[in-house]
Symmetry: D2
Subunit: 308 residues, 4 copies
């Protein structure tokens, strides 16, 4: 099977490229408007020496919401499940990722899950570190380990741009501070949060990160980077709420644990098989890479990757 990836990928990427025309770049984060909307790329890593890639897989882009699964893993490793899930729930929500309504209507006020912004902010507030710099450094080390890429860092430009336009996230954070879901300085939290969203990777990096999750927490050399239980929790959230408000449909159409970001990236972890990295910045209405979604559907069908 593996030997065919190369040709198959090229064919599939060619086939879905047309879909990039029907999507558009995320316009609410100014820095993301610089991407090329025609880009579509994929990398697959199954633990062998190299990734199978197609398209512009060297193109750097920022993690955005993909960072949510990484800070979640790190927070659980920092504090254990119990403490983390005392601050954030485990249930999918039918509301948009940036919604505040349920924080008000639910008693006690607690974000429904770590994949919506409120939940991700609450999780970020838990990362250990004496300063934003230290927290970010710990997260970067973690991401570098997962991807095996020591050069990964964050984009100061994107982070700055997002920090300045993060009023909705500030609103969510202050609301949770009022209700004792989070504590501490909100500007420091936003600083860390926007920097974690601005971490830059390429498709290969995502494929390798996805591989570790697919491999129950071990990298391709067999080194354990995430505890089994944590990798399982992360994959579960990827299925129930990893693709914004299209998670349910994605689970049916594709059936692979995946997390997307509005930069156009998607990381997938096919249990016990492979990690996949996608990049396609033209988004559909729900904020997912429009060509990337179609590409994963073809891939899942052809290689029977659905977990269901």
């Amino acid at each position: 099977m593996i030997c065919n990836y190369g040709n198959d990928l090229k064919e599939m990427v060619d086939q879905v490229r047309i879909h990039t025309k029907h999507g558009k770049l995320a316009d609410y984060i100014p820095a993301l408007m610089k991407a090329n909307p025609d880009d579509i790329a994929i990398s697959i890593f199954d633990g062998q020496q190299t990734c199978f890639s197609e398209g512009n897989h060297q193109q750097l882009f920022t993690l955005q919401s993909i960072s949510k699964i990484l800070t979640l893993a790190l927070a659980i490793m920092d504090h254990g499940e119990e403490l983390v899930f005392d601050k954030v729930g485990m249930e999918p929500t039918g509301d948009p990722f940036n919604s505040i309504a349920k924080l008000e209507s639910h008693v006690p006020s607690k974000p429904l899950n770590p994949m919506i912004n409120a939940g991700a902010l609450a999780v970020s507030a838990l990362i250990k570190g004496a300063s934003t710099e230290e927290k970010l450094n710990r997260l970067l080390i973690f991401v570098r380990e997962l991807s095996g890429n020591d050069s990964i860092t964050y984009s100061k430009e994107v982070a700055k741009s997002e920090f300045e336009t993060a009023d909705l996230n500030r609103s969510l954070a202050y609301f949770m501070k009022q209700h004792q879901v989070i504590s501490g300085d909100i500007d420091h939290l936003l600083d860390f949060y926007t920097k974690q969203c601005a971490i830059e990777v390429n498709c290969n990096d995502l494929a390798r990160i996805g591989f570790v999750l697919s491999n129950n927490g071990k990298d391709s050399t067999g080194k354990r980077i995430i505890p089994v239980e944590v990798s399982r929790i992360v994959k579960t959230f990827m299925v129930t709420c990893g693709m914004y408000n299209a998670s349910g449909e994605f689970a049916i159409r594709v059936g692979i644990p995946a997390k997307s970001g509005v930069s156009g990236g998607i990381v997938c972890a096919v249990p016990n098989k492979m990690g996949i990295g996608i990049y396609g910045p033209a988004l559909d209405r729900k904020g997912n890479s429009i060509a990337g979604m179609r590409l994963l559907e073809l891939l899942s069908e052809k290689y029977e990757l659905s977990i269901f």
Copy 2:
């Protein structure tokens, strides 16, 4: 592995029996109050001749919400995916199973998924048949095929009791009629809906129904009863929204496609492995069998059944 089920099950059931004391019977459907809250039973069917069972596995109980996955399968088989999902969405919701709020706030008005009452009503309205009797008959034939049990029928007493107290479901149905999600006579729909909820099964029946789903739509003799794609769709909904507002946590703690009902039943489909039927009418606060949930957690852990 299989040869151990017998002893293991007895041990596990003994271990979780204490939890029945911390739950309580569903009190909003009068007929359900007649159950014995101490009951806890399980059946496992892996396609071999008999089920492995423990506890009072012959006890009959009504399907209640478990019927939602069966009418969904039948509706898709009747009309195809496209038509069904034109009437009902695919996304999990953070709201209670009987909530009406999102029908009002979402434009267009459309139930978020077929596992909440509004969605199940919309799906039930699609079942083919010239009369309630014919629709119900078709559903009963389907359930008998899935379970291999020709004696399955519905409880007139429970159906009558539910029909008379179904004002909230009437409210949901008329709301959707106003918004053209459903059409036709609402009393007829409620008649069919409450009868489908009142279909009586035992643990063995559920295990065999779960097996067909786990076996991609074929029964143990190899006979196809549900198309592959339909069985995959059903299992996906079981994971993303099968356990009411505890679906997310259940996916993390257990990781098995499952659907519960307020009668205390749970049907599980472990992909390519087995079907499981649970009965334990003492419920937790979210409406799931309290001892049954614990039993599945033990089982999943011991036999590594999680799909994640």
Copy 3:
């Protein structure tokens, strides 16, 4: 002052007539589509022998939501304040008149006020009478007394049309039945409710009804028809929530207790001064007579009728 009404009214009506072009007929009740959208009429009654009228003031139209203040008055007269306000609240709501959301989010479930549909249904359920016919008869007698017009009855055609399309009101009613806000047969309630909405009046009738309220419950002969306290309660609701979602703005711009209906009617009660009846079926976006609103603004300004 009074002697000028005649000329003033003509001038004002001419001035606002142009606004009828910017509104449109209510389209969700088929029977209302037969009205002439260009119509605009007014009657003023200050207790003297005749009304001052302008425009087509003999044109019959149905009360629709205007009936809400009449059933409220009758229900309080039937049962006293305490019982009525145990079933329905006194607070304005920022939600649309036909909204169901707050019935779900408020504990206990109780309509916020009697001017929204849910509240009016709860109030209608309280009207004394052994049958729908008897209830309706009692209400008609009350309306005839208020207006001094013995020929008032209801439109069977409009009532039938509304009954058949009242699925949203049925949804509200069943929801409240589930929560014990109302009891009894819902179809009977809807029958009464749609008939009360279909009571036909003209501008003169409304002006005389408004006069009784403005005169603290006595008609122009000095005969008490409504207790002082009840007429005060009704006028208060007219100010806080009489004009749908435009009540607050109307209170600022006009400042007169008023109740509108989607047929284009408006009844006003200027405390201790006069009753006003308006008819103008072309509605603004919020469901109020578009030219009628402007006419009342001019009138209030010219004669300083605001209570504030």
Copy 4:
């Protein structure tokens, strides 16, 4: 009539004093916990030389939400109606004064009225002034003019206490900033907002402020302080949404334009008759002075002050 106020007031105050036992101090603003919960005081000012007062009418307390009507008046005087009501609506809301839900569900995002926190923040952001100090100074000058009391200032202690615990208001403000309802620095806005809430007055001051509103904007010497139209708008909001979620009931039971604060103060403006100031820090569940509400009910009944 006037000559009786003195005796009547004493009797009424004695009568309602027992109600103070059934309320409690606002506990979410630490500084307010220092008040004496047994206090109940009233002042009436009808434009004659002195106020009629009873109880501890010299006791200073902070304006809290009462300030909302003053900044509203000043903002309209600064910018005109049109600009102000482009930022904030005119409609009552059934939601709590500090709710954020409707900012999210309404399109465009805009606070429903200036009496809820979101609306008051939007209005405060409009007050002219190059700095917080200048804005506050302008507001203080305005309050001193209205009350005829040049010594009025704000409590630094209360302002500081509220600023530090204002996370919910920060959340509201950032949410509105995201949606372009307000602009500028949020910390500066919160600084001004918490200081305006901390302006200290006594009952006599409130009675005189209420008198100006009741007298259509002129003080007792005939000097115009607020334009007629502005004083009318303010009184209208006091009726439709001046008493938190009890505004509707207060309009029915009392029928006087009034605005309360969680410090226990209430300012009333009886049109063309008098201003009333109330102080009673023991609050009912909805945040209004529990004895003060009862006192106003007695007063309105005895002197027939209801505008309805």
